[in-house]
């Protein structure tokens, strides 16, 4: 199978049914997302760092809703809260909301090519960030720097790449479809 080229990002073309995702693969990618979030950074890269875990979670909420839904997202968020040392329940709430929004939008999002999916993902990630902002400001935190709005957009830009990587193992084997 060839690497997905630019034509695979356009809406026209035949449709392919993906194999079901394996639960262990979902687990491994979620841990990978958590690790990517925990990488120590500083300065500009810290300000631009997208929430990788939210991206992976969103992908699986859209692609494998049988395995990953609101409950799993909430548990993953609690782990992220511990890793980040932030308030308990902050990421959990945001990720649970993200999972719900994904459940609501998934059928529509899937109809679009990856670049247009990214635009919709940007909105979801931005709502997620706004929810965190609301929680913290109500809790008495000061407003963060304006760079707070950057990570959702960086995350949306990464969406096509993350989608291609995560759906790679689920693509049907070419040999099985040949007669």
């Amino acid at each position: 199978m060839a690497l997905p080229n630019i034509s695979s990002l356009s809406p026209a073309g035949p449709e392919e049914i993906l194999l079901p995702a394996r639960p262990w693969f979902i687990g491994v990618t979620l841990i990978g997302g958590l690790l990517a979030n925990l990488v120590p950074l500083s300065g500009i890269s810290l300000a631009l760092r997208p929430d990788f875990l939210a991206l992976v979670l969103l992908y699986w909420c859209i692609q494998a809703p049988r395995y990953v839904g609101v409950g799993v997202a909430w548990c993953v968020g609690i782990v992220m809260d511990v890793g980040d040392g932030t308030l308990f329940g902050q990421h959990a709430f945001a990720y649970a909301f993200l999972a719900y929004a994904a459940e609501y939008f998934r059928r529509r999002v899937l109809r679009f090519p990856l670049w247009q999916q990214a635009a919709q993902v940007a909105v979801l990630l931005f709502l997620c960030a706004a929810l965190v902002l609301l929680i913290r400001v109500v809790g008495g935190a000061p407003l963060p720097r304006w760079t707070f709005v950057a990570p959702p957009f960086v995350g949306a830009l990464l969406w096509p790449a993350i989608s291609v990587v995560l759906q790679w193992p689920q693509r049907p084997r070419q040999s099985s479809s040949e007669l």
Binding site: P4, S7, S8, P11, P14, E15, E16, I17, L18, L19, A21, L34, L35, A36, N37, L38, V39, P40, L41, S42, L46, R49, I62, Q63, A64, P65, R66, G69, V70, W74, G77, V79, V82, G83, D84, G85, T86, L87, F88, G89, Q90, A92, F93, A96, F97, A99, Y100, E103, Y104, L110, I135, G139, A141, P142, L143, P144, R145, T147, Q167, Q170
Partner: protein
């Protein structure tokens, strides 16, 4: 090419609806948030969970460490020679100064003995490296490389070569969290070095200079004055430089002057920090007079480190 995920038909029963689940987990989150902000009941849970997640955090540092190691390996010899020359020059410059220190220290000890001043900060300290900056954009925190295994405890003052950086607020086995003086929930008791006027410096969050609140408009303070710790709280040893007064607005119509300070230490730059040993134990606080309001007030205690 379109990819359609494999999924079961929707008419099979799949438990409560997503909205019900969101409502359930949303309420659970809000309850947790409330418990955490308001009562800090969850510190023990966090501690246990932090120990579990610690290997992951260390693993996440590997790529950065490897890149830094490669970078150091290839750092040009020229830079090292330059640095060496610079350091030698500085040693010569400072040795003259250093020779005076023993004499000054002896005089100081005698005078303090005469005044029967309690021995204060004795100088034991642990050098730590900043592992990474806190990812939470709402707070100003760094994580440093040593923790309870090296006898670091919450409430220790953290300084760098120029002045106070912050204080240890949470301790894990292999690392600890330092809240910086610029954090909104952080306050340092200070005094103006020149005039001795006491005040408290409050952090104001990222991107805002810390400020001195509740100073009368006619207080003896001027732009450029150095603020040092007053040692009143028992957390910070007295006499450590903290900040310099950057701007000062005295308006006669206002109750207080508006004073912004600029931290002297490289609060968001220093890579190596020093965690100081606790200063000598203060005598116990005298009993509060029985006051019905006092109990109510203590229940409302805000997060102010220690």
């Amino acid at each position: 090419m379109h990819h359609i995920p494999a999924e079961p038909p929707a008419f099979f029963h799949r438990g409560p609806s997503p909205l019900t689940r969101l409502a359930f987990f949303g309420v659970l989150s809000i309850a947790l948030l409330f418990l955490d902000t308001r009562y800090r009941y969850l510190e023990n849970v966090r501690h246990v969970a932090a120990v579990v997640i610690y290997p992951l955090q260390r693993a996440a540092q590997w790529p950065g460490d490897a890149i830094a190691w490669v970078g150091r390996y290839f750092s040009s010899q020229h830079a090292l020679i330059e640095e060496n020359a610079d350091l030698k020059r500085r040693v010569v410059e400072q040795s003259a100064l250093a020779q005076r220190v023993p004499g000054v220290e002896r005089d100081n000890a005698t005078l303090r003995g005469l005044l029967a001043v309690r021995d204060r900060y004795t100088g034991a300290a642990v050098a730590v490296e900043v592992l990474y900056y806190g990812r939470d954009p709402f707070t100003q925190k760094v994580f440093v490389s040593k923790g309870s295994a090296d006898d670091i405890a919450p409430g220790r003052a953290v300084v760098d070569a120029q002045g106070v950086v912050g204080q240890v607020t949470r301790v894990f086995p292999g690392m600890s969290e330092v809240t910086l003086v610029t954090d909104k929930d952080h306050a340092v008791p200070v005094k103006v070095e020149r005039s001795g006027v006491r005040s408290v410096m409050f952090g104001a969050g990222a991107g805002h200079p810390p400020e001195l609140r509740f100073m009368a408009p006619n207080a003896d303070i001027a732009v450029g004055d150095v603020l040092v710790t007053s040692g009143i709280d028992g957390t910070y040893p007295a006499g450590l430089p903290v900040a310099q007064v950057a701007t000062l607005e005295r308006e006669t119509g206002q109750m207080f002057a508006r004073i912004a300070a600029k931290p002297l230490a490289g609060v968001d730059r220093s890579e190596w920090l020093l965690v100081l040993a606790p200063s000598a134990a203060l005598p116990a606080r005298p009993e509060e007079p029985a006051d019905p309001d006092a109990a109510k007030k203590s229940g409302k205690g805000r997060r102010r480190g220690n």
